[in-house]
């Protein structure tokens, strides 16, 4: 039943007299089920990645992308790829264009537990794509050492949940390497990749989103892509950025975000947020897999509170983040 009444303190006071409340039981904030709240949030809305309008599923959408135009790949050849394949493609381009680059971690040689490194060992050899023993602190330290010699080290941590043994190396060493040495040395060639965030059945240890721990470390960059096209361009930028970068890949998006991905080499800028949907009333900021939940939330708001428009921003780089775009919004 739609009834006009004073809104709760949750709504901005601007809307106090204008916002229709869907149910008088909106105030039961602690309740878990939509039915208890008297809300039917979904109500005919198609949700999730498969229904998302944000993906570049068609060649036309690639041609129309202003960012891909700026990278000179909007008109070029594309191939249908999911995020795993896009990451694989990015790694292939790095290995082909940078002689000093190597890709290593647990189980990467046969193709990786998520198949992101499939075919690379066959193409570039076992000296460049190799398995390491099971030790995240070793993987990170080894990668820092290679980077300290000016090489490009792309290290994989099998799940972000297991990155903590590497935390000392990343926080105390990688992030401070250049600054503490007065630029006599640096670890700019370091990139750490890790599948992260919830997948549904992952439990405590295959679902974590540890990006905020790293966002508090000056000297480290943290990047999280939302789709295949984004993953390829952002990963290429991350690897080539002369700073240590931690690249978290939302594993739930590995197979589900299928797009027409430009086959050429292109780089999407770091520390540059993307406005996915312009709006004038509410700024909604997110990244990674949550972009699709936010897309749905915005659809609900705009459907149920007519006249309200939301702006959806994908940070892409969590740290250092594009404060200017967010503030302007």
């Amino acid at each position: 039943m739609l009834r006009l009444r004073p809104a709760t303190s949750l709504c901005r006071s601007y809307y106090r007299r204008q916002v229709p409340i869907i149910s008088s039981r909106l105030q039961r904030l602690y309740s878990a089920t939509a039915a208890d709240n008297g809300i039917e949030p979904i109500r005919g809305l198609e949700t999730g990645v498969s229904a998302s309008k944000l993906l570049l599923r068609s060649v036309t959408s690639v041609r129309n992308s202003s960012e891909l135009k700026a990278q000179n790949v909007a008109e070029g050849e594309t191939r249908k790829m999911n995020m795993c394949q896009a990451i694989n493609d990015a790694l292939r381009l790095v290995l082909a264009t940078d002689n000093t680059s190597v890709v290593f971690g647990e189980d990467v040689a046969f193709g990786g537990v998520f198949r992101c490194s499939v075919g690379l060992a066959d193409e570039f050899g076992g000296e460049r794509i190799f398995n390491t023993p099971l030790t995240e602190q070793g993987i990170a330290g080894f990668a820092i050492g290679m980077a300290a010699m000016g090489h490009t080290a792309v290290a994989e941590i099998q799940f972000a949940d297991y990155i903590y043994p590497a935390f000392d190396q990343l926080v105390n060493e990688a992030s401070k390497f250049r600054y503490r040495s007065g630029n006599e040395f640096n670890a700019g060639g370091l990139t750490i990749r890790a599948p992260s965030s919830a997948v549904g059945h992952g439990g405590h240890y295959h679902s974590q989103s540890p990006e905020s721990f790293f966002a508090h470390v000056p000297g480290l960059k943290v990047v999280i892509p939302r789709s295949a096209v984004q993953a390829k361009g952002l990963l290429l930028s991350a690897i080539r950025d002369p700073n240590p970068v931690v690249f978290f890949e939302p594993k739930i998006l590995y197979r589900s975000t299928v797009e027409q991905v430009p086959v050429d080499d292109y780089m999407l800028p770091l520390s540059s947020a993307e406005i996915l949907k312009p709006g004038k009333d509410i700024t909604v900021v997110g990244y990674g897999s949550q972009i699709y939940a936010l897309e749905n939330a915005i659809q609900m708001v705009e459907r149920d509170i007519p006249g309200v428009s939301c702006e959806l921003i994908d940070l892409r780089t969590i740290s250092p983040y594009d404060a200017e775009t967010v503030e302007k919004s």
């Binding site: 000296e127 190799f130 070793g138 290679m146 980077a147 010699m149 190396q169 060493e173 040495s181 007065g182």
Partner: protein, 368 residues
Amino acid sequence: NAARGSHRPFSATCRTERKKVMFPGALNSEYTHKLNFVSSVQSIPTYQVMDTDGKVLDAANEPQMKKDEARKIYKNMLTLNAMDQILYEAQRQGRISFYMTSFGEEALLGSAAALDPKDMVFGQYREAGVLLQRGFTLTQFMNQCYSNELDLGKGRQMPIHYGSRELHFQTISSPLATQIPQAAGAAYAMRREGSKLCTICYFGEGAASEGDFHAGLNMAATLGCPVIYYCRNNGYAISTPAIEQYRGDGIASRGVGYGIDTIRVDGNDIWAIYAATKAARKIAVEQNKPVLIEAMTYRVSHHSTSDDSSAYRSKKEVEDWNKRDNPIARMRSWLENKGWWAKGEDAEITKSAKAEVLAAFAAAEKLK
């Protein structure tokens, strides 16, 4: 049939008795039918080239070195000692904030003499001797300790956190053992470059308890990294004596556990260090694999200027060690035995070393 059976590829239907364990994880094990736990094999012996009086015991590995080079090395030992004394005092006087000395461990610089100047060094914090032997000037040492504008590190770190790109010496960082897996990675990069260079990684017996030690050595061994791991076992990690740091046969026994060529040396015998490092380098560079050297020595120093070691060991113990087995005295004796050093030269050299140090010190103190 039993003899033939052990050479045939493993077949599920073959019932011949086998001696060798075939599981993929068993690299070279044989079956036994005696229930027996192993906790120690014979302790790894400690290699010496000369005794405490400088008398040569292994002539085959006496260094093939010219008089000038040997004298230069000895002068560096004296200079290091002089610099340590003066900078220790400077800290006591409040002129610099912190310092760590290398008293009793001056023989370490023999390892630097055995390397190529472009071999990359990853140190822990007590390797100023290596840097000195490489050519770091007294001025450069002072500038870092004073954090002045000429410090290569731009004044950003505590004293003794030296680093030099030119001299291939990675900047020191305070966290212990982090350099160990880094050295393996750097060595792997060098191997890829085909430069025939190696890395050397120094750490103490205390740092060897860190997880990074295990991670680094295991990775170096499995991935084939030309890195020399050099453990300075000086008996103490601040106040913790070695008996509280480990129960096994020191650090050397662990190298064997990782499948790494290992040697234990007398860390007060500069020529044992020199010979072992030279041989280790050859293995690392020619065979692309790691080597572990454990150098046994005694930390005459306090841990640092923030430590008074009389709180956990007797002054007598320290004095006894200093008198009984002094690396500087041993080297001098060896030089004197060869007729390459005159009695009384010591006083002269020490005096001029002190003067040089004081001059550099005064200059560094004046700068911002």
